[in-house]
């Protein structure tokens, strides 16, 4: 039993962050759907857009990690399977976080 309270709070905190950002991103997606490659790239040149997208994706991945871990804890009874699934979740989350950050930085700098 290690700091489940902080996980619970983080789950709610990321949720609160995600509410306005989701509306923002869905709205942007409606606009982006008609853009071509250069226009989409230009979208991320804006510092506000890039930072909001960065916060969105990091909060989203972390929220997803916490949520999936809770589901695994509730439904997976085998100790080993629980451990394996949790490590897969963590690996996928951190890999996505790192690759997204590198990609965003690359887009901004290019």
């Amino acid at each position: 039993m290690k700091n489940y309270a902080s996980k619970w709070i983080m789950q709610r905190l990321t949720a609160v962050i995600l509410i306005p950002l989701t509306f923002w991103f869905v709205y942007q997606c409606v606009l982006l759907s008609s853009y071509d490659y250069t226009q989409i790239k230009a979208f991320f040149y804006s510092k506000i857009n890039a930072s909001l997208f960065f916060i969105l994706i990091i909060a989203m991945l972390y929220h997803a990690k916490l949520g999936n871990e809770t589901i695994v804890e509730d439904y997976v009874t085998s100790h080993n399977l629980k451990k394996t699934t949790k490590s897969i979740i963590s690996a996928l989350t951190y890999l996505s976080m790192i690759l997204t950050t590198i990609s965003l930085l690359y887009i901004i700098s290019s």
Binding site: T22, V26, Y37, F44, A64, D74, Y75, T77, L104
Partner: protein, 143 residues
């Protein structure tokens, strides 16, 4: 002596059994046992949409990686996006996002102990369904 040995052996077997049972506990929300009441269906659906959206979050990072890799790689995504199958997928994704979002707001209220009366829980549940369908339709009309 023989009796004591037997007793120790039995105690040992019982503790092994208990140890094994501790790993093989019944599932906590008892999905297969309980009657499917609406509130439970909402909760299950919240988790199901959550899992789907986690995969969506990974797809979103693949999208941003494709943008970073350049127009040649991004055209792969653009070719895919013209398919009707992809459009249906996006439509369901939108619906999933809004369902999880509005239902999640309900969860936030519950975290503060608000709106927990059964009648309000049911009413807000219907509001969640109506709002998510309306928002999805609104988004797809705007495109």
């Amino acid at each position: 002596m023989n009796f004591r040995k037997k007793n120790i052996l039995r105690n040992y077997k019982v503790s092994v059994l208990l140890y094994k049972m501790s790993f093989d506990r019944p599932l906590s929300p008892h999905l297969s046992i309980h009657k499917k009441v609406l509130t439970a269906v909402f909760s299950i659906f919240h988790r199901f949409t959550g899992i789907c959206l986690s995969l969506g979050a990974i797809l979103l990072s693949v999208w941003i990686i494709l943008i970073a890799l350049g127009p040649d790689y991004y055209s792969m995504f653009q070719n895919l996006s013209t398919l009707i199958f992809f459009k249906i997928f996006l439509f369901l994704w939108t619906l999933t996002i809004f369902y999880h979002l509005y239902n999640g707001i309900r969860y936030l209220f519950w975290s503060y102990g608000k709106m927990m009366e059964l009648s309000i829980v049911y009413k807000s549940g219907y509001v969640v369904i109506i709002l998510s369908i309306l928002s999805t339709i609104f988004v797809w009309i705007s495109i």
